[in-house]
């Protein structure tokens, strides 16, 4: 073939599809939101850029070696592949790929050998995804770093606020039901596992959402992660109206008693206690909460500062980079441009809203039942979205009463929400898988 024709055929212009163009626009929108509007930039910059890379036409950066071979391979290779997979020559690429996925190990090994001999390796983003997300490692390592950055002090000073973190998880399960209702009425097409993964958006916790959907609904991972991080950034817009609607001015103005100081020993024992409880009651949450507790213990024990420092700096940064690019690899037209994505985006915001509402309502109930005053606004921080939701609670509280500093009080339910959604994740994985 003439080189100029080879170059043209290999160029992106000759291969670009409408779907790719749309996905490139969406990726650019995510970058805009991250950079100009400060929407969770640490995740959305890598995710958006990963989305751009995944949609480079003709590069197949998000595809496996076998998928790249069917996309880019010459007729000779495709014929050999068809022969090994026992199908007529000239079958379309996606038929070959799906046959390969169902083939027995030895046929797969033969296909792998052919593909490798023809010079096709996994796409860069595909490799990143396999190593970081499919293995489950990246969300866990990030959770370790988050643990090393988490201060359980306010929670230990006022353990009742754990219940606010529990109540706010109602958003998760209500959303599961919503997703299933949409399927029931034929509007969308979600399985129980899909619905469970979508619900976790309501946990307002990125690594948890990615971990769960990598297990329960890998195909929806892109949309779920994008929804989770976008709505976390929108917490200052989503939450205040709900908080106002469900509380009176007087309740919002309630001042809370100053928190007691917490000893170092309590801080050290708490992650161990939490881990043991997880071990006894909900082993399926052990990877997530185990790494979280490990990070926190390293931080609080004070004798391994080198390690906790690395866990919440170099290691979490490296992992975030590759996690973000890997999530971006799921921003491809055939998985993202789907009516289900609209459903996920819609359900996600509902999940946040219901979680906020149930946290606030639980706050009101606790305020009535308790002898010491509890400002129901801090219940909204129970969705997690650390520390954004706690800041929102503080701001709304200050509007009602300029002496009312809720920030530290809201940090309790805020970190409780992280535990709560990890527990919910464990339940989902145990019951649904």
């Amino acid at each position: 073939m003439d080189p100029i024709i080879s170059l043209w055929v290999a160029s992106g212009l000759a291969q670009i599809s409408l779907g790719q163009l749309v996905m490139v626009s969406i990726s650019l929108l995510l970058l805009y939101l991250a950079i100009a509007r400060n929407f969770e930039p640490l995740l959305l910059v890598p995710i958006g850029f990963g989305g751009l890379l995944a949609n480079v036409p003709g590069a197949g950066l998000a595809l496996s070696a076998m998928e790249r071979a069917t996309l880019l391979g010459d007729i000779e290779l495709l014929t050999s592949l068809s022969a090994v997979l026992g199908v007529a020559a000239g079958s379309p690429g996606d038929v070959l790929v799906s046959l390969y996925q169902q083939a027995d190990p030895s046929a797969r090994a033969s296909v792998d050998a052919l593909v490798s001999a023809a010079g096709y390796g996994h796409g860069m983003l595909y490799s990143f995804y396999q190593v970081s997300i499919a293995s489950g490692i990246a969300p866990l390592v990030i959770f370790m770093g988050v643990g090393a950055m988490t201060d359980f002090g306010p929670l230990l000073a006022n353990p009742r606020t754990l219940l606010l973190g529990a109540a706010a998880q109602f958003g998760i399960f209500a959303t599961v039901l919503g997703a299933l209702a949409l399927s029931q009425y034929g509007l969308m097409d979600f399985t129980l596992a899909d619905a469970a993964a979508i619900g976790i958006i309501g946990g307002a916790d990125g690594p948890t959402a990615i971990y769960v959907s990598s297990i329960l609904a890998p195909d929806l991972l892109g949309a779920i992660a994008v929804a989770a991080y976008s709505y976390m950034a929108l917490v200052p817009l989503i939450q205040p109206p709900i908080m106002h609607a469900l509380t009176t001015e007087a309740e919002r103005g309630i001042e809370m008693r100053q928190l007691r100081t917490v000893t170092r020993a309590e801080r050290i024992f708490f992650p161990l206690l939490l881990l043991i409880l997880v071990a006894l009651l909900l082993p399926s949450a052990a990877p997530l909460l185990g790494m979280f507790c490990f990070g926190n213990l390293m931080q609080e024990c004070g004798v391994v500062d080198r390690l906790s420092d690395t866990a919440r700096n170099a290691l979490i940064n490296i992992t975030t980079l590759f996690l973000g690019l890997s999530v971006g690899s799921k921003l491809v037209a055939d998985k993202f441009l789907d009516v289900n994505t609209l459903g996920i985006l819609g359900l996600g915001v509902v999940a946040f809203a219901i979680g906020t509402a149930s946290g606030v309502l639980m706050g009101r109930v606790m305020n009535r039942l308790s002898s010491t005053p509890i400002n129901p606004l801090i219940g909204a921080a129970g969705v997690s979205a650390v520390p954004m939701a706690a800041r929102v609670a503080n701001r709304v509280g200050l509007q009602a009463n300029p002496q009312n500093y809720l920030l530290m009080h809201a940090m309790g339910p805020n970190v409780a929400g992280v535990i709560g959604s990890a527990v919910a994740a464990g339940v989902m994985i145990a019951l649904v898988r």
Binding site: L155, L156, P159, R160, L162, L163, G165, A166, A167, Q169, F170, I172, F173, A174, V176, L177, A179, L180, A181, S183, Q184, L192, A195, A196, T263, R264, A265, E266, I268, F269, F270, L273, L274, L277, L281, L282, G302, V303, V304, D305, R306, D309, A416, I419, G420, V423, A424, V427, M428, L431, V432
Partner: protein, 80 residues
């Protein structure tokens, strides 16, 4: 076995939300218990606190350089 999707979802909600509430309620109780117990035994642990680990005893050489440079620069600027 052949429950509708909605029934499964309702069950998931019931047992899921129940588990979350039970788990975190237990955690409230156990945390209080732990705090009560640890309050008395924590003297021993806090006794070891002032012993810095090797890791945080080291000062970053660049930071040291920065201190030196800052002092040096300042002296020169205050001399002139």
């Amino acid at each position: 076995m052949t429950q509708s999707l909605m029934t499964q979802g309702l069950e998931l909600m019931l047992y899921g939300m129940g588990s979350v509430l039970v788990f975190l309620s237990l955690l409230v109780v156990l945390t209080r218990l732990m705090s009560a117990l640890v309050g008395q035994t924590s003297t021993e642990l806090s006794a070891t606190e002032p012993q810095a680990t090797p890791a945080n005893r080291e000062v970053d050489p660049r930071t040291l350089a920065a201190i030196t440079a800052a002092i040096h620069l300042h002296r020169r600027s205050s001399e002139s």
